[in-house]
């Protein structure tokens, strides 16, 4: 496994398999990204972590409900399949599982962990071609569960 930790975006870290292609701090608000090795499926499994400011008045519930609406509006054939309340680094978080279709017409399964920490919304989104999901589901779940948000947020 490879440990990825972004300091620039507030100590966000996760573990990915050693053979995944990884990127740290490639763009503002995207501290960590990683891609699985290519497969015959014309879509590479990937995980992307984003960090964004969340208005102080917004509750965790309002934030993740808003994310559901945004996903539904922005992703083709978005279908929410599961929504689970979990914790990330001891903080209230959600994990959602959904299906959608990419611009190239490929059916994908998306899992997203979302946590609010010190006024920052952190999401880890893992996207897997649905045909590869049986093989990659456990690995992606392990990556999601490894998400850490250890503070050190830029003010």
């Amino acid at each position: 496994m490879t440990t990825l930790v972004s300091v620039a975006n507030g100590g966000v870290g996760l573990l990915v398999p050693a053979d995944w292609e990884t990127t740290l701090d490639a763009a503002p608000g995207i501290p960590v990204a990683a891609m699985a090795p290519p497969t015959p499926t014309p879509f590479r499994t990937n995980v992307v972590v984003t960090v964004g400011d969340v208005p102080a008045a917004m509750t965790f519930r309002e934030w993740h409900a808003g994310a559901d609406l945004l996903l539904k509006e922005s992703l083709d054939q978005y279908q929410l399949l599961d929504l689970e309340h979990v914790t990330v680094a001891g903080l209230k978080a959600v994990r959602r599982l959904a299906h959608h279709v990419t611009d190239e017409g490929i059916a994908v399964t998306m899992q997203q962990w979302a946590v609010l920490v010190e006024g920052h919304g952190v999401t880890l989104t893992a996207t897997v071609p649905t045909v590869d999901f049986p093989v990659l589901a456990r690995a992606v779940d392990a990556i999601g569960r490894s998400l850490s948000v250890d503070g050190g947020w830029p003010q």
């Binding site: 054939q77 279908q79 929410l80 399949l81 599961d82 929504l83 689970e84 599982l97 299906h99 279709v101 017409g105 490929i106 059916a107 399964t109 071609p129 649905t130 045909v131 999901f133 049986p134 589901a137």
Partner: protein
């Protein structure tokens, strides 16, 4: 025979008799009816539904979905070919709507048909149960279904009391999705998942096993999650390794 074909609107609704005649051919009257309905031009299938007919004529795999509830049961069928999947979804009174989707989108279509979605978590565990009780939930007779619901609810542990109450209140749906294809030795094989769903949690119905002691089929109900069910749905379809070699 019933056919409602509106190619400009992308809609085809028909009964099984018409679909069978379209796919496998029928007698002269049936073919004449299909021509009048616009589904056939001579012997050529209308281009709007040709992918569906071709998939149904030469499927790699067939997927049957059955959904049961207090109001009775409905069944849907999908034929998966490499290029497309033909989906015959029951609308009402023996009339089906035909959909054509990419085969990779079949699990999502099944999820939509069975209304897979977020559910609260049940206390983890499994409950043994006579299969005849579970099968009774799909009985044609409403009283028999109600009796099976009561027997099933009685077998639930106290941790599942709320779930059992949903059963008794009629707020349940049992569904199964079953794939069939010719194995590498050409004998029929497949995979299946059966689920008993309520607004307060979802359980998987395990495949029945014969209990040698009393010669009855036994099953178990196992608390699960929509995520695990989605995983099962994506596993239903055969992989290249499951299928006989081409040619």
């Amino acid at each position: 025979m019933i056919v409602d074909f509106a190619p400009d609107a992308g809609r085809l609704r028909l009964d099984l008799e018409a679909f069978d005649a379209l796919v496998a051919g029928g007698d002269a009257d049936a073919v004449a009816y299909l021509r009048d309905a616009g589904l056939l031009d001579g012997d050529v299938v209308h281009p709007a539904i040709r992918p569906a007919v071709e998939a149904a004529r030469a499927p790699v795999c067939v997927l049957d979905v059955a959904v049961a509830g207090t109001q009775g049961s409905t069944e849907h069928r999908m034929w998966l070919a490499p290029a497309a999947a033909a989906c015959l979804l029951h609308v009402s009174d023996g009339v089906y709507q035909v959909f054509v989707v990419d085969p990779t989108q079949v699990p999502a279509l099944v999820a939509k048909v069975v209304r897979l979605g977020p559910r609260p978590r049940l206390t983890p565990g499994a409950v043994p149960c006579a299969f005849v009780v579970v099968a009774g939930l799909t009985a044609p007779d409403a009283e028999q279904r109600a009796a099976s619901v009561d027997r099933l609810a009685e077998t639930c542990p106290t941790e599942w009391a709320e779930w059992a109450e949903e059963l008794r209140g009629g707020r349940w749906r049992m569904w199964s999705a079953r794939t069939t294809w010719p194995a590498t030795d050409l004998t029929p094989t497949g995979r299946a998942v059966t689920v008993l769903d309520t607004p307060v949690g979802v359980v998987r119905v395990d495949e029945p096993q014969v209990d040698v002691a009393d010669a009855t089929d036994q099953t178990s109900l196992t608390a699960t999650t929509p995520t695990e069910i989605w995983l099962e749905l994506t596993r239903l379809l055969p992989t290249d390794a499951d299928l006989p070699p081409l040619g």
